[in-house]
């Protein structure tokens, strides 16, 4: 059962209980109990008590304001009593009736972004190296038509943009479970960092590089890209709670890439600045290193 479905069912059960309680124990009989229950239950994942209490305070404040203007014959205490009862039912429903699991929901939201990052990275490398569209995909299989050249990169980018919007922002909410906060925020931050690096890489990959330069770096780029894709696959394997395996941190391959680049382009500031493609390629390799560091940190955090 997905976390969203659990939340909807939990709401329905909580409100149903509130309606029953309203019939037998409600003092005002204006369905204030189920209304408050519903309002108090609309909290983000992992933030039941804090946000529930904040919402209760807001409801009590609104009731008091309305009471001042309406001049009802029923005592204010009765309204506050019903609201408080509704809040208690709401908070207890959130805690015990099909409670949402922050860790599961976090995984459900983050895995698609990591998958999108992986596809986008593969498309960027393809665009950089101007490969034949029918070569590799992320699993080393023949690529499907949807990944052809620049349209493949564009589709992968659009897909990533859509997935990023669904990232679990509630890990940053005040009152989020303090035991989970640091770890979840760190992981979310690193996942977003990967996307940032990939967008920068794409900005550089769009540049028309010298063909001779790219031919000389083609094989080593492909090798390093293969390692990055293995990293992504490992992270996704761990996130899906499957059996993990050891992996090469490809530091040697990156050093080889850097060395080969310096053989072609003397890596001092005066010379590298002569041509824009030298600077862009230098920055691309720099981003490759940064991507590797972030992926390693993610794997270490997961293990």
């Amino acid at each position: 059962m997905t976390q969203k479905l659990r939340f909807i069912l939990s709401n329905l059960i909580g409100v149903s209980i509130a309606i029953l309680v309203n019939i037998f124990f409600g003092l005002t009989h204006v369905y204030l109990i189920p209304l408050t229950t519903f309002v108090v239950m609309q909290t983000s994942t992992g933030n039941v008590i804090y946000q529930g209490l904040i919402r209760l305070m807001s409801v009590l404040f609104v009731i008091s304001l309305i009471y001042i203007f309406l001049h009802s014959q029923i005592s204010l205490f009765y309204y506050l009593h019903d609201a408080a009862l509704g809040a208690v039912i709401g908070i207890l429903s959130n805690l015990f009736i099909l409670p949402r699991h922050p860790d599961i929901e976090f995984r459900e939201r983050t895995i698609p972004v990591l998958e999108a990052n992986q596809k986008y990275f593969a498309a960027i490398i393809q665009e950089l190296l101007n490969q034949d569209p029918e070569t590799i995909d992320t699993q080393g299989n023949n690529l499907s038509h949807s990944h052809k050249g620049r349209s493949g990169t564009k589709n992968a980018q659009i897909w990533l943009e859509k997935k990023i919007i669904n990232l679990p922002s509630w890990v940053y909410a005040s009152g989020f479970d303090s035991g989970l906060r640091r770890g979840h925020q760190f992981f979310l931050n690193r996942t977003e960092r990967i996307s940032d690096i990939l967008f920068s890489m794409h900005h550089l990959a769009c540049y028309k590089f010298d063909e001779d330069l790219m031919d000389r770096l083609h094989s080593i780029f492909t090798e390093c890209a293969g390692h990055v894709e293995k990293f992504f696959t490992l992270i996704l394997t761990i996130m899906r709670l499957s059996k993990t395996y050891a992996i090469n941190d490809f530091l040697e391959e990156l050093e080889k890439l850097d060395k080969k680049f310096r053989e072609i382009v003397p890596y001092d500031l005066e010379t590298i600045d002569i041509r824009r493609d030298y600077v862009y390629l230098g920055e691309f390799i720099f981003l490759f290193n940064e991507l590797r560091s972030v992926l390693i940190k993610l794997i270490q955090a997961l293990r």
Partner: protein, 212 residues
Amino acid sequence: MLFFSNIFKKLKKIKRKKAIVFYLSTLNQFQHFIFTMFLQKDYLDRLDDYEKKMHQHRLKVFLAVGKLRKNLKWTRYKNMLSTLIHLYEIMFSLYELNQRVKDRTLFDVCAIEFKSLSLQLDIIFKKIMHKEFVDLDVFSSAIVSFDELFRSTLQIISPEPIIFLFFVQDLLALYQELTSVSRFFNKRSHFLLVKTKAKQQDFDYQKWDFPG
């Protein structure tokens, strides 16, 4: 039917304009945030807060991008779409400097240049949004100032000066893309201006070369 078709077209035009303005406004806020973050003295002490703000800005950018793609996909603006999208990629590339620089006192050296760059970008974005004429010379002067600072000072005091070279190149790329964008929208405003004048003076404006 023609009446409803015209209303539908006008509504689509309004939505398209709103999407472009919203996107440019979001990018403007994003650039302001990036340059402000460079100069925050308590950045390392309040890392969680700044990461949260960056996350919020990121979400805003992608929401704006989604609206932009949706409204420009099947219009004559679709050629401009890739340039507009490229703007946010360059912004993320500029933001990389914040992650690369370990010694944040280096940013104090560039404070004046960063403020100038951010101010010029703010003016440029606002002028593009209002379809006013954009003079990018001031922005290019700001980039040149930063480049001179890099060559005279940062190259010597920075442990990794190449990251500032990358930053300068990204600024130049941003300048190029903003030139394309401002030319595109200036052409359209010129078209609107010409059409109005033509109506007033009964010109045969069929002769004019309208932009794509």
